[in-house]
């Protein structure tokens, strides 16, 4: 019944969408809204505000983009809203986080899937890293793995929630080392998970590279491994998990970008897909992103489409056993 309703809703939005499909030459005619499914001040929100700050320039969209926060339940609240209640008129954009929303849709209990949205462009890629407190006895990935193997289910590891990038990284680690960790999802996102590590509430944590980098600069944590294919420019001294002998690829890397709900007129999607990546390349944007410790990774619509599809494949395999 739910599926039927959802199908009908998609058909309806598609119909209303196509009825005024032509004549988008003047788009955008009024300010645009972009929904961020995390709270104001979080990493996604912060980066979304920076990458959209030049939207009003004449060489970009010519109209400002306002950020609208709809936080809750690891992003589910916001994406449910974008898929079900937002108007697909091109004036409502959304920020996506991969693998979060795809993993959540595979796990079920939400009203969206990969097909509910149309990507526009990708702006950032923030790998998950393993952090421990500054005074922790662990000094390398090997120490952590050895402990987890000797004490199955005893290594308390904090992360931002269930079925977000951090959780995917934890699952991959468990699979790779054939050991059992105790993954502790926190309410309040990456900041709360980081606090748990610094305060010693948990033994280790998986967190965003950007936040971990800042915490290390403040002298509060040690970063032991990066869950990515290559070492990161911000942390050239930290090995990847692969180097440490764990078969963990880049599936958990948190890709952030812009999307629109399905049913948005094709003309508008094309126009956005052409303009938005160049907007991200603006030197003011890249400068601010670098200063804030946020790694950028610009991808066009076609690249993102391929990336989404490939991510869905790997996540389905990874989550099949759960």
């Amino acid at each position: 019944m739910k599926k039927l309703l959802a199908g009908a809703a998609i058909a309806l939005t598609a119909m209303t969408g196509s009825s005024f499909a032509d004549g988008h030459a003047n788009y955008p005619e009024r300010p645009i809204m972009m929904m961020v499914s995390y709270g104001a001040g979080g990493a996604t929100d912060f980066q979304a505000r920076i990458v959209t700050m030049t939207a009003g320039n004449e060489d970009a969209l010519g109209m400002p983009i306002a950020i609208l926060n709809k936080p809750g339940a690891g992003g589910r609240v916001g994406w449910n809203w974008l898929a079900g209640q937002a108007e697909a008129d091109g004036y409502t954009l959304g920020a996506y986080n991969i693998p979060h929303f795809i993993a959540q849709s595979i796990k079920g209990g939400v009203d969206y899937s990969r097909d509910s949205f149309e990507p526009i462009a990708n702006w950032g890629a923030d790998p998950a890293v393993l952090v421990v407190g500054a005074d922790s006895e662990f000094n390398s990935m090997e120490d952590v793995v050895a402990f987890a193997k000797e004490n199955p289910g005893k290594l308390t590891t904090s992360g931002a929630g269930l079925f977000v990038g951090h959780h995917i990284a934890a699952l991959q680690m468990e699979k790779a080392c054939e050991c059992k960790m105790a993954y502790i999802p926190t309410k309040g996102g990456g900041a709360a998970a980081m606090k748990a590590v610094i305060a010693g509430d948990v033994m280790a944590g998986i967190n965003n590279l950007s936040d971990a980098f800042r915490a290390r600069e403040a002298g509060n944590v040690k970063i032991l491994g990066v869950a990515d294919l290559e070492r990161n420019d911000f942390l050239p001294d930290v090995p990847t998990m692969m180097e440490a002998g764990l078969d963990v690829d880049n599936s958990s890397v948190n890709f952030r970008g812009v999307m629109v709900p399905k049913g948005t007129p094709k003309g508008i999607i094309d126009k956005l897909a052409a303009t938005v990546p160049t907007m991200f390349e603006n030197s003011r944007v890249t400068g601010k992103m670098k200063a804030g410790g946020s790694p950028m990774h610009i991808m066009t619509r076609d690249e993102v489409l391929a990336m989404w599809e490939q991510r869905e494949q790997t996540l389905k395999e990874l989550l099949a056993g759960l």
């Binding site: 104001a40 001040g41 920076i50 926060n69 926190t186 709360a192 610094i198 600069e217 403040a218 804030g292």
Partner: protein, 503 residues
Amino acid sequence: MEFLYYFGDVFTPINFGLLLLGTIGGLILGATPGLSPTMAVALLIPFTFQLQAAQGLILLGAAYTSTVAGGAVSAILLKIPGAPANIATTLDGHTMAQKGEGAKALQLSFLASAIGGVFGVLLLIFLTPVLAQWALAFGPSHLFWLAILGVTVIGSLDSKSVVKGLLSGCIGLWLATIGFDDIMGAQRFIFHPALGGGINIIAALIGLFAIPQVITMFAKGRKGDGAEVLTVQKHPISSAFRELFRNKRALSIGTAIGSIIGLIPGVGGQIAGLVAYDQSKKFSPEREKFGTGHPEGVIAAESANNAMVGPSLVPLLTLSIPGSPTAAVLLGGLLIHGIFPGTDLFDNHPDVAWTFINSMLIGQVLMCIFGLYVAGLAAKVAQVPQSVMAAVVLGLAVFGSYSVQSSMGDVYVMASLGVMMYFLERFGFSAAPLVLGLILGPIAEANFIQGSMIANATDGLGPYFLGGTLNIFLISVVIASILYSAYMELRKRRYTSKEEILG
């Protein structure tokens, strides 16, 4: 004493101008129902992109301090708390305004805010390293017990009947579970799409407090001219000072509790005012007067919620952990200029750090001066005819709840809760315990689940939740609080039954 060295920077024309702008703008925004400090600060973020780091932070810091204080204005005059921090202020503040003492209530609230606020910022200046350790000491088990301590307050808060107070609290706790469960991601009690995101606390606050007010005004019907025009007594500022210092106990309890609770990441400002209100009530010899327009109530609540501002920034500035949504937005304001809180901030950008902190100190004083100046004028709101007032409050409630996250669903939730609350109030239930339940529910639940997950992986539930000095201390405070309430209730009953026999 490093901070003294940078005091001059606050008084450059641009910086001071921004400080004034942030303070006055913050007061106005704070006084608008539905605009919480977090929102006000988030709205200002785009402006800080254009400013230098120190200037941007001055604007944000000033807006933060003065929106917290500004929330008291609508709490006192309209009985609509601007933010969760101001709930306790409505209890005595609005009753004072109804008695024609609106000007006095506003003056006391601004003075108490400033004293609490200055104390809080001084703590931030002098004791930051010590406080940072204290902020970290609170793990999931301690936060759980702290939330339970809040729950014990529910029964005795603003309700003539303990059972109905507790029942109101239960309704609030249940309402808080609606929506997605934050940790598991399961859907709970979502029987209308508007509830998908759960019940937004700001929208709920507006609905629960403002709508019953509006309906009560409707219920009075068309009144003849001048039938019920309130007089607003003039109240000289000097006597407000005297009144404040007569109530040193409430002032110091409020300031102390606000500073301590404000420090704890994740709980902070929302409950500081209520806990301080409850504690001053318990320690006061005139506890029967609380809730009937007693100045002590306003002083305790307002000194607590501004005292929390300074300490609430400690985890952010030293450990780079934003302890509250507002702190998270301030973090963005620092990062945008490439400044990392922590050692980087204090070692490499001391000018930014200290100018920011100093400006909050000056901001507290400016906020107080400006607030006192307009208090007499603002109190005249009580003289606006009921018909106009009802329509204005309704309009503000709709716009305020919508603008929280541009969501029609929040407006529907606001209205439904509000209408429900009006009828519940007619039957002896009250809004304050309900809201307290709504705030405490998620804190208690998330920390219990998280704590039990950690406990199961380590030393087991019993030792984790009951062991350790801090746990034992908090548990004994909880037990003391329950015993005290029970004792007071029994004593009251004995007196009333005697009176009944005599009568």
